[in-house]
Symmetry: C2
Amino acid sequence: MLPRGRPRALGAAALLLLLLLIGFFLFGGDVECELGERGGERRGPGSLPCPLTPRVSADGRPRGAAAVDGDPSADRGGRNRSDCVPPRPPLPKCELLHVAIVCAGHNSSRDLVTLVKSVLFYRKNPLHFHLVTDAMARNILEMLFHTWMVPAVRVSFYDVEELKPQVSWIPNKHYSGLYGLMKLVLPAALPPELARVIVLDTDVTFASDIAELWALFAHFSDEQVIGLVENQSDWYLGNLWRNHRPWPALGRGFNTGVILLRLDRLRQAGWGQMWTLTATRELLTLPATSLADQDIFNAVIKEHPGLVQPLPCVWNVQLSDHTLAERCYSEASDLKVIHWNSPKKLRVKNKHVEYFRNLYLTFLEYDGNLLRRELFGCPSPPPAGAEQVQWALAQLDEEDACFEFRQQRLTVHRVHVTFLPHEPPPPRPHDVTLVAQLSMDRLQMLEALCRHWPGPMSLALYLTDAEAQQFLRFVEASAVLSARQNVAYHVVYREGPLYPVNQLRNVALAQALTPYVFLSDIDFLPAYSLYDDLRASIEQLKLGSERRAALVVPAFETLHYRFSFPSSKAEVLALLDSGSLYTFRYHEWPRGHAPTDYARWREAQTPYRVQWAADYEPYVVVPRDCPRYDPRFVGFGWNKVAHIMELDAQEYELLVLPEAFTIHLPHGPSLDISRFRSSPTYRDCLQAVKDEFHQDLSRRYGAAALKYLTALQQPRRPA
Amino acid sequence: MLPRGRPRALGAAALLLLLLLIGFFLFGGDVECELGERGGERRGPGSLPCPLTPRVSADGRPRGAAAVDGDPSADRGGRNRSDCVPPRPPLPKCELLHVAIVCAGHNSSRDLVTLVKSVLFYRKNPLHFHLVTDAMARNILEMLFHTWMVPAVRVSFYDVEELKPQVSWIPNKHYSGLYGLMKLVLPAALPPELARVIVLDTDVTFASDIAELWALFAHFSDEQVIGLVENQSDWYLGNLWRNHRPWPALGRGFNTGVILLRLDRLRQAGWGQMWTLTATRELLTLPATSLADQDIFNAVIKEHPGLVQPLPCVWNVQLSDHTLAERCYSEASDLKVIHWNSPKKLRVKNKHVEYFRNLYLTFLEYDGNLLRRELFGCPSPPPAGAEQVQWALAQLDEEDACFEFRQQRLTVHRVHVTFLPHEPPPPRPHDVTLVAQLSMDRLQMLEALCRHWPGPMSLALYLTDAEAQQFLRFVEASAVLSARQNVAYHVVYREGPLYPVNQLRNVALAQALTPYVFLSDIDFLPAYSLYDDLRASIEQLKLGSERRAALVVPAFETLHYRFSFPSSKAEVLALLDSGSLYTFRYHEWPRGHAPTDYARWREAQTPYRVQWAADYEPYVVVPRDCPRYDPRFVGFGWNKVAHIMELDAQEYELLVLPEAFTIHLPHGPSLDISRFRSSPTYRDCLQAVKDEFHQDLSRRYGAAALKYLTALQQPRRPA
């Protein structure tokens, strides 16, 4: 609070004195009431209109932070007409702020992202997130932050498993399980040099600059170590129902959804021992914690009231079932943090829930790409990888006709892997994952695909943040989809005008967990038996171990959009003869699949080998470690052809399976294919990319790659 | 600035004195630099670190608001460690704030919406928008605000035509044309009782609470009438190029993208005469205004420097081509308003343009529905119509299986009519508008539809705010679409899980401007000749004037998604015989079109009358004043059937046209139809809606409606 250096301290002291005198002279001595009233804001009992730091009163109730008090520092209306304003805590320009969050599992990871978006939206400081996670959450969040590339944001991970032993002995009834209790061990878990941290639950949403919260550390007296907002329900008063026996607390107690921790002082004070003793003692008479860490924090505070710095209620507006929060927000000029601390979350009943829901949805659906904003004020190193990308982008010529293409393929998309709960398949030596990618307009394919393919799937979805939420609701509404635990959905966030088809394929491919992958497209439905057939063939053919091969699944198409799916090869042949089934793209681009040799397939009883030929793009099964797709191919055209060419260059055998088949269903033309057909530039740019690709190919495979160049000589429509 | 009432004034004076003394005692007299430095902020030359009100210096340059100064009132970092803070102007809790904007045409209307969204996002006060508009903008914005239903927002319109004469005599070279100049006449145009107003250009974006800007009125001295931010370019210094002769201005002059106007004082001071005199005089030597109103405001201010209250630069960060804005925003802790005042707008070149673009895109793509938030703090009457809706919604039972249905049909969707530039068709007695509705997944139909239908179209698009921008880019990228001026696109913003098909149809129908409408669906392509045929038939059959009839356009479908469109009835018959064309929904729902009597159509040379039958849902041409669709039908099912039933109840003849035809193209199943097929509840709810509809029908048409009920007796799949 006081400026450093003696002379200033003197001056400050002198000034405070003078202020009081003036207050006296101006307002007849009653500074508090006068200031309060002149601020034009009604105030509740026991609150201080103009606190310098809130105080804890005899009964231990935090008077400065009583639920009706609003936020003194934000309460401008209350101050400005007075001619001298008690200082608001300084906003620490460019200071690095530390935030700790405990996060486990797929659903909490989604919540955390929404919380982080709300923090980033208002922040003006560099941030360091300290994430205590399980393996799932870490896998998701590491990739997410790595691809998000937000300037002036650092992330560190801490393994929840290592910390569990320290809290697992505590019986706990709260829905947050052990994870809630983790907050107790942060002083030990976080780096010893870290002195201060803001601790947040994943179910809070920011509506203001987190630096304003950090600034409240300045209010801490020398003995205070924990900043908390009063609990906005009567839970700890123990009068909610008969025989309701809550843990001990000061008055209403405090809520631990938002915590300011002075880690340095907690360590000095032997925090670990302190809370363990209290918990052990209380557990002699109480069966378990009901509200996890919150019960224990409150019990400790009840013993040592001096430890707590009460925070203004607006920094943790609690929408629990029996909330009294309205006393807070109806008075406050400004809401700072909303806390969805009811198990019902957004479905909680509350007179104003619509208002809070809107704030939450704002960030749930907010385009996270827009948060990739530099902080001018505070120069900071660019995020890993960002520099190269920016450099490459800077090299591009905006006048170049293919600018869009070159820009699109340089774009780094935010990736949220396993967006929904997912169980990794048990390790089986011949298991196959179906790999595909889609955008919103193909969602209705998912149910049918699940019926045709019981095995694991790894699907990349190209969505906006808002569409990702629609997708979530779509899956929840579908019995078929919500029943499946072995389908992994990876959200790749939209950016740029062209569909990054090969980047999407690579994301889905990289996330496949079985030794083999079936590289398919979303508009294809495989034979019901394909999953079993493939695993059998892989085993018989000793794929991977002894021979390097790609198994070709012959592709067909129907032009009818009502269609009864053939249950056997015999039925396929019958439909072919009756003309209601064709080999894939038979009419407009036979070259794409001709080498599969459908005539031979008719007769084949065993797998047969075929030779690569120009423009061949079959659907294949390969080991997971196969070459990646070339990300330069965006939008429509040639993206699979290049991949097959690379397989051939690496001398994969191409083996056609005699019983396997997959069928393409009709759909309206995609926007990209329409653009390809309508725009000559589009075709020219594609040609340019193809040429680059061939140059690289010959560079990497030398003479062996010559045949691809010669094959390219006679120009023709790309597929 | 000074508090009202003598004793306080005394106190304040005393306090100021004391502050200076303390400053002296603390920092050896150099208050300015010390305070500045202690705030941890570097400061530029000529700025005042701690101004009470900015001042205009001898050379006329507003020192308090010099471009490097940042925002004194927001500059907390610079203040808080000092022990006494100069008061920030009070935020007027719940005071009604007035905002005036000049807006003309389709594109400005879209800009205005983005500006308004940014204002509403941060606002905490009731707002009254005063919109000076042309007929187009008024038509768009009246409907938009009416359907937006934002609490605590009032809108008034003023006709630009009435004001033009007052400024049309001024020669002007600025791209804003006459509309820029309109700002000069606001004191006369706005209601005489209106004392203060904030005037905004449509190309500004707010990044903060507009009440903070309004609060700056408190800085005005008694003679000051206009608050402006200094111009952030050297334009008015006249040294940009040789022979560059700008209008006279104080130093760099001021920018008029953001203006605070004391209307009361301006009226007293005879503003109208004042600026007219100055303009007339300058125009003796200058050929025309280059920057419209801004030149004239600056010329007047040059003469009367006392009139202007310079505002902190952050309230109008100007991204013009030669901007010096970086001096402002790189120092400021906080940006308040961004001004895209380059003709290049978002494509302007600027080191930090990405940052600003992100802020702009935030609101461009922000879901406007989320701004329907009440202001707790400030009780205000609900917007027109909102009360009934809320009441009806409150009556719904969340446990009811059809809750979603009932909720969806009560939803009031935001509607932005003529989202893109559009020329109303010239009045012709027999002209026909094609009416249809679509969502994002059918965009690719638009080009084909335009090729098949040269006449006017009225299309309702069901989109999110973000999708509306994708749609905009899609049209801009298409030569076919951008060439068409007679296609009106009406955006209905998404809300709720079910597709409000009939509400969309009614929006498109209500916006059709020709005497007749062809009620079609987006997946149908009409015969190339249909537009001409229909107008001819309407004339021959003396539709409307003498007979009340609906012309039936026979509907067919192809199951092939590659298909060469028949150019004549003869070709249609040939395709029917060859089995590559069917009558519409021949396989799964023949009842829907059977009454059209295709057998008779084969032979027909002249229009023939057919009788209504249960479940008949033909595509028809009717007078524009036909009955509306029943909005209770949402999602899939029975929505057209009900409408045809109502036409029949109103005794429309059903006349089938002998040469007309329209063909349905295949597409993947919509999500709604999938849900219909999979969910029994969905079907039950639809049945419930049908029953309600029939009850109303018999209520309205009495005995005549009996046949519909009897027809309903035998239950069957709805279409």
